[in-house]
């Protein structure tokens, strides 16, 4: 591109007015086949579905425009969810009812919209809001194992990071075990999540096999469901919908 042409283009882009994001904060669930794809694939899948709806989606600027979507927290391969969030931006205000009505019939098998709230230009990025996650983990005897782990003061697990094995203590990331909601073979836990401190369910399972006698085979077969994401500072738990 010639210098002149390039300058013209930059000018056109800076002239463009700041686009208002009319956001639909969407809580979604996934299970079954669609749980076995990675986070990037899930984002693309959402993108295609929104595109099919014919709704006035806001696209990102630049050479490669994509639907403006922000996911609260990446979802690992093989993990189901009942309470993940995505902010989907529209170029004009769209009512949640209309959004749900247009999107629901298009949702791929296993992926569903749980609820939607409308947000006029959220001030905080959805990603920065998330601090905690609640998981249900199914494995034989898991609740006893997690109880044992919670009684420990230091819980070291190994994690591969950039080809090296790093040891870290996950105990501070374990917040609560919900006794009343848990069954012997299905535990519900509240853990730290988000960009500052994030406990991955695999790490907890690893700790259970290491320190609490969980069978490794059972650990790898464990079914993990993310029940919900939360914000706020523990023990002051806030729903994601509350944030502006």
């Amino acid at each position: 591109m010639s210098k002149k042409k390039y300058d013209e283009r930059v000018l056109a882009m800076t002239k463009q007015q700041h686009l208002v994001h009319y956001v639909l904060r969407t809580r979604f669930a996934r299970k079954g086949a669609v749980s076995y794809i990675g986070h990037l694939d899930l984002m693309n899948l959402f993108g295609r579905t929104v595109r099919k709806s014919g709704l006035p989606i806001l696209y990102s600027q630049g050479f490669n425009p994509r639907p403006e979507m922000v996911f609260a927290l990446p979802l690992g391969v093989g993990i189901d969810t009942e309470g993940d969030y995505v902010d989907i931006s529209m170029s004009v205000p769209i009512q949640p009812e209309e959004f749900v009505e247009k999107m629901t019939p298009l949702m791929p098998e296993g992926l569903s919209i749980v609820s939607v709230v409308y947000k006029d230009e959220p001030k905080n990025s959805l990603m920065s809001v998330v601090t905690m996650a609640e998981y249900a983990i199914k494995a034989p005897g898991i609740t006893e194992c997690v109880k044992k782990i919670m009684e420990m003061e230091v819980v070291e697990v190994e994690k591969k990071a950039k080809g090296k094995i790093v040891t870290n203590d996950i105990r501070p990331q374990l917040l609560e075990l919900h006794e009343d909601a848990s069954l012997p073979d299905c535990v519900e836990v509240l853990v730290k999540a988000g960009s500052t401190s994030n406990l991955r369910p695999e790490s907890l399972l690893q700790a259970c096999t290491r320190y609490a006698g969980l069978d490794p085979e059972d650990a790898s077969n464990a079914g993990v469901t993310r029940l919900c994401l939360y914000g706020g500072e523990y023990p002051n738990i806030k729903r994601i919908e509350e944030f502006t």
């Binding site: 591109m1 086949a33 669609v34 295609r48 929104v50 994509r66 296993g110």
Partner: protein
């Protein structure tokens, strides 16, 4: 008849392999016939014909294959037929399945392959042969046609390799020659009758299948060789079996259903885009190109139908890119009308068009400026040969002037990345031709700096990439009789080319390994004696041969020698009058014409393209397309 079972893969097994999304199905637009499934679940049996469509490579590649999407739709159309998909499990999953005795299953109903009435493969390249065996083996289907009984599926295949399927003759019950949209259903219909009458006589069914135009039943023919091991003939073993099998084509492409609701994978594949098919065949007639001959005559779809397809497919898939497929995009006469229509329909959607093999001219430049996504990516040229002499030999109707003119346009348009594709080892090639490759790249490099100076553009370093692949003599080309260049000679040419561009920092050189090309040539021109070789190779662990890091050349050479054969037998020059292992197949283009084209190649004479002047290749026998325009 095997009773229906549903294969259940555990969460732990899925989590133990890479990309588990390959093995779970559940995609958008998938077709599951509930009545048939209910019948299977309650009775363990259905009277409908069930076809498992196998693609002998990994999921991401198979799901980018248009043939599979087309035939999936066609075979699911009738009430009495259903089609499901299966892919080659990657070695990690292959191991899990073998260790735990999990049969290869279809993604739709999770049924093992051996439960189906028909297992059908679409094979795009010879190197996928061992994966066919892997899929049959894991699916519980006896590998050899001769070992299958009334209990087993009918195993068929189609695709470009079908035209010389002799190396795989032992493994297929029937083979489709040509385009499958009609013939697939004709075969399914016969299988339906066979199933309705209680699957009594498999042999009788095979005989009947052989009577369908375009269907080849290998077991009904016997191969003969002379004492020196040259192929002499392939003859029917009984009366009433056709001696020549003529390929099938679709006369009117507008008249056949097109998959405007293709299955959209949940996970990323090789190309995350939808496709429309502009035309079949190619008017160009490059003498090395098998696709250029086997798909003749050229038949176009109308711009209106294509535009409607493009609009429907965007809506049903949500893809943000539409690929316009053909062997040579610029030869599509309705291109301006089509692209205008699509760009208008897509306005505000941020959907872009991908136009592979587009010749760069004023129209193309204008178009590329309208399609933002081509901005960053480079521009590719395929001169194939470095000198005009050799380009005339291969009938590549493109001159150096054409190339430089196009390159000038794209440099002036702001691009600085150019990819150039060449072939090494073409018939009559000399070191001068190899030098021509370097010369052309250097001229392009100089041109960039000239233009930068002329136009006062801030000088970046251009990126010019030369890629060389190796010439492989393929059946049904003008070069089907040619020898493949020796590894020693090719190595010398490669080193020479490398030395010529060494000092040019903006020119990069990519090359393709020799061994895979040699093996591909052996398979491409092989005869029935290759079948035991392929089987032995598979048993020794060869799969995914198309993947460079998985290809085991040493193992193949050993297996070939163990079977009393040599590489030279298959890659050496063949006498122009000698019988060929694929002589029983008629693609329309005559052997006489191919021999004439070979003669013209040696005379360095160019043959005009189909629209300039009919060369009388023989494809007019299909009474349609460019031959009757």
């Amino acid at each position: 008849m095997k009773k229906h079972i549903e294969v259940n893969i555990s969460h732990a097994d899925l989590m133990s392999v890479a990309s588990p999304g390959r093995y779970v199905g559940g995609e958008t637009n998938v077709i599951i016939k509930n009545e048939i499934l209910n019948e299977l679940r309650t009775n363990g049996y259905t009277s409908a014909v069930r076809v498992a469509f196998g693609f002998p490579d990994v999921y991401e590649i198979g799901m980018s294959n248009l043939a599979m999407q087309i035939l999936y739709k066609v075979l699911n159309e009738p009430e009495w037929c259903s089609c499901e998909r299966a892919f080659s499990p990657w070695p990690d999953m292959d191991k899990v399945m073998r260790d735990k005795n999990i049969p290869l299953y279809t993604l739709e109903t999770k049924s093992p392959l051996n439960e189906f009435d028909v297992v059908c493969f679409s094979i795009g390249y010879e190197m996928a042969y061992t994966n066919v065996l892997q899929m049959l083996d894991l699916g519980g289907v006896p590998l050899k046609s001769a070992d299958r009984t009334e209990e087993d599926p009918i195993v068929v295949c189609g695709g470009p390799v079908a035209y010389n399927i002799e190396p795989m003759a032992d493994f297929f019950d029937a083979v489709f020659m040509g385009e499958g949209e009609e013939v697939d259903l004709e075969l399914a219909q016969m299988v339906k009758e066979y199933k309705d009458s209680g699957k009594k006589d498999r042999q009788e069914l095979l005989r009947k299948l052989a009577s369908i135009e375009g269907v080849y039943v290998p077991s009904l023919y016997k191969d003969e060789y002379d004492l020196e091991g040259h192929f002499i003939a392939l003859k029917p073993i009984e009366d009433g079996i056709p001696t020549i099998i003529t390929k099938r084509i679709i006369k009117d492409l507008d008249g056949i259903p097109y998959p405007t609701e293709p299955v959209v994978p949940n996970m990323s594949t090789v190309h995350n885009r939808a496709y429309i098919e502009l035309f079949r065949g190619c008017i160009r007639g490059c003498r090395f190109c098998q696709a250029g001959y086997i798909y003749r005559p050229v038949r176009e779809k109308s711009a209106q139908v294509l535009c409607d397809n493009g609009i429907a497919i965007e809506k049903s898939t949500g893809y943000d890119e539409l690929g316009l497929l053909s062997l040579s995009t610029s030869d599509y006469r309705g291109l301006p009308e089509l692209t205008d229509g699509l760009l208008k329909a897509y306005e505000g959607h941020h959907t872009s068009l991908s136009l592979p093999s587009l010749r760069i001219d004023n129209f193309a430049m204008e178009l590329m400026n309208k399609i933002s996504s081509t901005r960053k990516s480079g521009i590719t040229f395929a001169p194939e040969a470095g000198t005009q002499r050799l380009r005339d030999v291969i009938n590549k109707g493109i001159t150096e002037e054409d190339i430089l003119k196009s390159v000038r346009m794209i440099f002036e348009g702001g691009w600085s990345t150019v990819k150039l594709y060449f072939m090494l080892g073409l018939p009559t090639e000399t070191m001068d031709d190899v030098k021509g490759i370097a010369d052309l790249a250097i001229k392009i490099e100089d041109l960039y700096y000239d233009i930068a100076r002329e136009k006062d553009i801030k000088v970046r370093r251009p990126e010019i990439t030369i890629s060389t692949s190796l010439f492989i003599p393929k059946p049904f080309t003008a070069f089907q009789w040619e020898a493949q260049d020796s590894i020693e000679s090719l190595g010398e040419k490669q080193r020479y080319l490398k030395s010529l561009i060494q000092r040019h920092k903006s020119i990069h050189y990519n090359w393709h390994g020799f061994e895979t090309s040699v093996w591909e040539a052996v398979l491409a021109r092989g005869d029935r004696r290759m079948a035991p070789v392929i089987l032995d190779g598979y048993k020794q662990g060869c799969i995914f041969d198309a993947w460079d890091d998985m290809f085991k050349y040493e193992t193949w050479l050993q297996v070939l020698a163990d079977n009393g054969l040599t590489v030279d037998q298959f890659i050496g020059a063949i006498d122009v009058d000698a019988p060929l292992a694929w002589d029983h197949i008629n693609i329309g283009v005559t052997r006489k014409f191919l021999a004439l084209e070979r003669k013209r190649a040696y005379e360095e004479t160019v043959t005009p393209n189909c629209r300039e002047k009919c060369a009388g290749c023989g494809a007019a026998c299909f009474k349609t397309g460019v031959c009757y325009e």
